[in-house]
C-alpha cells in the first residue's frame, strides 16, 4: 500500500465509526466549537479560500470563492444545500462517508453554514442510500442532543437546523439548480443561470450548494489547518495565474475490471495507472486494460496509453477528457467491445435526460437508437458522423442546453469514436457487410426491435 495516510477515510473500518463518540475521540467537533467561539464567518471563508479547496462534486470550483458570491449583509435566510444525490455512474465515495463517518460530513456542514451565515441546511440525499439516510439521521439526532445543532449553539448567536430531504431516483437532481427545484417540490428542471443560486437559490433566497466530500474536506481543513491541506496535491502553475491548483486528499472510486474495487484516498494528482496498480491490485484476471473512465461516465474515456495522466483537476483535460469529474475511475478490460460501452453510456443519458431542452431530450434518445441499430448489425459508417454531429451540437458548450447533462452525454461519444474509430468501423463492416456504406437515410429504431 502506498505511504499516504488516509484522512477523510481515517475511521472507515473502525468499530462504531459512525457514532458521535468515535468522532469526538478523533478530535471531531472541537474545531467547529473553536471557530464558532473565536472566528467571524468571513474569517472562516478566508480559511477555506487559503486552503485552496475546490469542490469535490465534479466541477472543481473553488469552495471559498463560491461562498464569497453570497450577497453581503443579506437579511436572510440563507440556505446551504448539501448535494448528496451522488448518481454519476462509477461514483460511491459520498455513500461511504455518509454511512461510515456521517459526523465528518455534518461538522463540515456546520462550519460551512456558519461561514455562509446559513441557518438551515438541507442534505439532499438520493433515494438509493437507505443506510446513509439512517446513519445521517442518527448523527443529526446525536448532534442536536449534544447541543451542536439548534438555537444559539454553544451559547453563541449562531443557530442551525439540518434536515434530510429524500430524492426520488433522478440523476438530474445532482445538478445544483435541479436539486433546488426538487427540494421546492417541483420537477427537477435545471434553471437558466444567472441568477446563480448564490443570489437566488432555494425558496428564492441566497443558497450555496456543496458536495458531501467537500463538506468532509472542510472539517479536515478546520482540524488540521490550510497549510496541511495545501501540502498535499498539485500546486498551482506559477505561469498560469488562473490555475487554482489541485490541493488536498481526494477520494477516488475504483471499479470495473480491477482486482480490488473500492474507494481509495490519495493525494490529488495520482496517475490513473498508479491507482489501478497500487491500490486496485491491477486489471482483473491478469488481463490488459483497454480504456478507463477517469471521473464518472460523463468525463469520457482514456485509452490504456493515456493511463499515466495525473488525476488532478487539470490532467484528464490534457488527454481530451472533460475533466476530473467525480474522480470515479472505471476500468474496462481488453475483452470489452467499445460499442457495448458506448451503448451503455448512451442508454444511461437517454434515460436520465430531464426532457427540458430539446437538443438533449431528442439527442440522447437518437444517440441510443443509433447505437441500438449498430448493435443490431444495421450500422453504417455514416452513423459515426451523425453521432459526432449530435455530440458536437448538444450541451452548454455549444450553447444549446441549460445544464451540463448533455455535455456529459456527448463526451463519451466524442471520446469513444475519436479514440477507437477503427474498432467502430471494423464492427460496423463486420456486422453489416451489405449495408455499412449506405449513406441514404434509413429507418431507425423500433423497426430493429427494442428490447
Amino acid at each position: 500500500m502506498p505511504p499516504f495516510e488516509p484522512v477523510l477515510l481515517e475511521a472507515i473500518g473502525t468499530p462504531e465509526s459512525h457514532t458521535l463518540a468515535s468522532y469526538r475521540s478523533r478530535g471531531g467537533y472541537a474545531p467547529f466549537e473553536k471557530l464558532l467561539a473565536e472566528k467571524q464567518p468571513t474569517e472562516v471563508i478566508e480559511l477555506v479560500k487559503s486552503a485552496g479547496l475546490r469542490g469535490r462534486g465534479g466541477a472543481g470550483f473553488p469552495t471559498g470563492v463560491k461562498w464569497g458570491f453570497l450577497p453581503k449583509d443579506h437579511p436572510g435566510p440563507i440556505y446551504l444545500c448539501v448535494n448528496a444525490d451522488e448518481s454519476e455512474p462509477g461514483t460511491f465515495n459520498n455513500r461511504i462517508l455518509m454511512e461510515d463517518d456521517p459526523h465528518q460530513v455534518i461538522e463540515g456542514t456546520m462550519i460551512s453554514s456558519y461561514a455562509t451565515r446559513a441557518t438551515t441546511a438541507y442534505i439532499y440525499l438520493r433515494y438509493e442510500y437507505p443506510q446513509a439516510w439512517d446513519r445521517l439521521q442518527a448523527a443529526i439526532d446525536e448532534a442536536y442532543a449534544a447541543g451542536l445543532l439548534g438555537k444559539n449553539i454553544k451559547g453563541s448567536d449562531f443557530s442551525l437546523d439540518i434536515y434530510l430531504h429524500r430524492g426520488a431516483a433522478a440523476y438530474i437532481c445532482g445538478e445544483e439548480t435541479g436539486l433546488i427545484e426538487s427540494i421546492e417540490g417541483k420537477r427537477a428542471w435545471p434553471r437558466i443561470k444567472p441568477p446563480f443560486p448564490a443570489i437566488e437559490g432555494v425558496f428564492r433566497k441566497p443558497t450555496v450548494v456543496n458536495n458531501v466530500e467537500t463538506m468532509a474536506c472542510v472539517s479536515q481543513i478546520a482540524r488540521r489547518g490550510p497549510e496541511w491541506f495545501r501540502s498535499i496535491g498539485v500546486p498551482a502553475d506559477p505561469e498560469n495565474p488562473r490555475d487554482p491548483g489541485s490541493y488536498g486528499p481526494k477520494l477516488y472510486c475504483l471499479s470495473g475490471h480491477v482486482e480490488k474495487p473500492g474507494c481509495y484516498e490519495a493525494p490529488l494528482g495520482i496517475t490513473l495507472r498508479q491507482l489501478v496498480d497500487e491500490y486496485g491490485g491491477g486489471v482483473w484476471k491478469g488481463r490488459k486494460a483497454k480504456a478507463a473512465i477517469p471521473g464518472g461516465i460523463s468525463m469520457g474515456l482514456m485509452t490504456e496509453a493515456e493511463f499515466d495522466t495525473p488525476l488532478d483537476f487539470k490532467g484528464p483535460g490534457t488527454v481530451g477528457c472533460m475533466g476530473l469529474g467525480t474522480a470515479a475511475v472505471v476500468v474496462i478490460d481488453e475483452t470489452v467491445s467499445i460499442v457495448d460501452f458506448l451503448h451503455n453510456s448512451c442508454r444511461f443519458f437517454a434515460h436520465e435526460s430531464c426532457g427540458q431542452c430539446t437538443p438533449c431530450r431528442e439527442g440522447t434518445s437518437w444517440n441510443l437508437r443509433i447505437l441500438e441499430r449498430i448493435r443490431a448489425g444495421k450500422g453504417r459508417l455514416k452513423d459515426l458522423e451523425i453521432l459526432l454531429e449530435n455530440g458536437n451540437a448538444m450541451g452548454m458548450m455549444p450553447g444549446s442546453t441549460i445544464c451540463g447533462l448533455a455535455d456529459g452525454a456527448a463526451w463519451p461519444i466524442k471520446n469513444a469514436i475519436n479514440k477507437f474509430r477503427d474498432e467502430f468501423e471494423d464492427y460496423i463492416k463486420r456486422t453489416n457487410p451489405e449495408g455499412w456504406m449506405v449513406t441514404d437515410p434509413v429507418p431507425a429504431l423500433q423497426i430493429v426491435g427494442a428490447h
Binding site: P89, G185, K186, F203, V330, N344
Partner: protein
C-alpha cells in the same frame, strides 16, 4: 383551512406530513416527502392520493401530479411488489454482468423488466448506478443492498428480503388495526 374529505391519507399520515412542515418556508416543498410517505404505505401513489396530498398542502392536484410524473420512482397504476428490486445496469455493473443478472432475474420470476409477479410479491426494475459500484453487480431490494451478486444466487437473496418484508408487514398488521380502504 377547511379540511376536505380525504380518500387515501389517514389522519396519521397527514400528521406525519404536517410534522415536517416547519422545515420549509413553502408547503410545496412537502410534495416529495408526502409522495414518499404514500408510496411507502401503499406501494404506489394512486390519483386519489395525489388529490389528497394536494388538498393537505393547499396546492392544485395538477401541480402535485406534475411533480410525481417527473420521478419515475413513483408508481401510480398499481402497487409494486412487497419486494421492489432495483437491478443496476450502469457501467460498472454492466462490466461485471449486470445485464445478465437482470435477464436471469426476470426470467426466474417470469416477468418483464419493470414487471411485478402475479402474486404481487416481487417487482424487478432496471436502475441506473446505485452508487455501490465497488460491489458490482448489485441490486437494491427494498432497503437491502445485495452485493456482488452471482445470477445463480440472486433469486435466493431476493427471497430472503421477501421473507423479512412479509414478517414486518404481518407484525405491523398485528400491531395496528387495518385501515379500511373504502372509508
Amino acid at each position: 383551512m377547511s379540511s376536505p374529505e380525504l380518500k387515501c391519507l389517514t389522519p396519521e399520515m397527514v400528521a406525519e406530513i404536517e410534522a415536517l412542515a416547519p422545515r420549509y418556508p413553502d408547503r410545496r416543498a412537502l410534495v416529495l416527502p408526502a409522495l414518499h410517505l404514500v408510496q411507502k404505505a401503499l406501494r404506489h401513489v394512486p390519483l386519489d392520493a395525489v388529490v389528497d396530498v394536494a388538498n393537505v398542502l393547499g396546492y392544485p392536484p395538477a401541480e402535485v401530479q406534475d411533480t410525481l410524473t417527473f420521478y419515475q420512482f413513483f408508481h401510480q397504476e398499481k402497487p409494486h411488489g412487497t419486494v421492489r428490486a432495483f437491478v443496476c445496469r450502469s457501467v460498472s455493473c454492466a462490466l461485471r454482468g449486470g445485464d445478465d443478472l437482470l435477464e436471469k432475474l426476470c426470467s426466474q420470476y417470469g416477468i418483464e423488466p419493470y414487471g411485478t409477479t402475479d402474486d404481487g410479491s416481487v417487482t424487478i426494475e432496471p436502475a441506473e448506478c446505485l452508487g455501490a459500484c465497488d460491489f458490482a453487480p448489485c441490486v437494491l431490494a427494498n432497503d437491502d443492498l445485495l452485493k456482488n451478486l452471482d445470477p445463480a444466487a440472486a433469486a435466493a437473496a431476493i427471497e430472503a428480503v421477501k421473507v423479512r418484508a412479509d414478517q414486518r408487514s404481518s407484525a405491523a398488521a398485528a400491531a395496528a388495526p387495518r385501515v379500511t380502504e373504502d372509508a
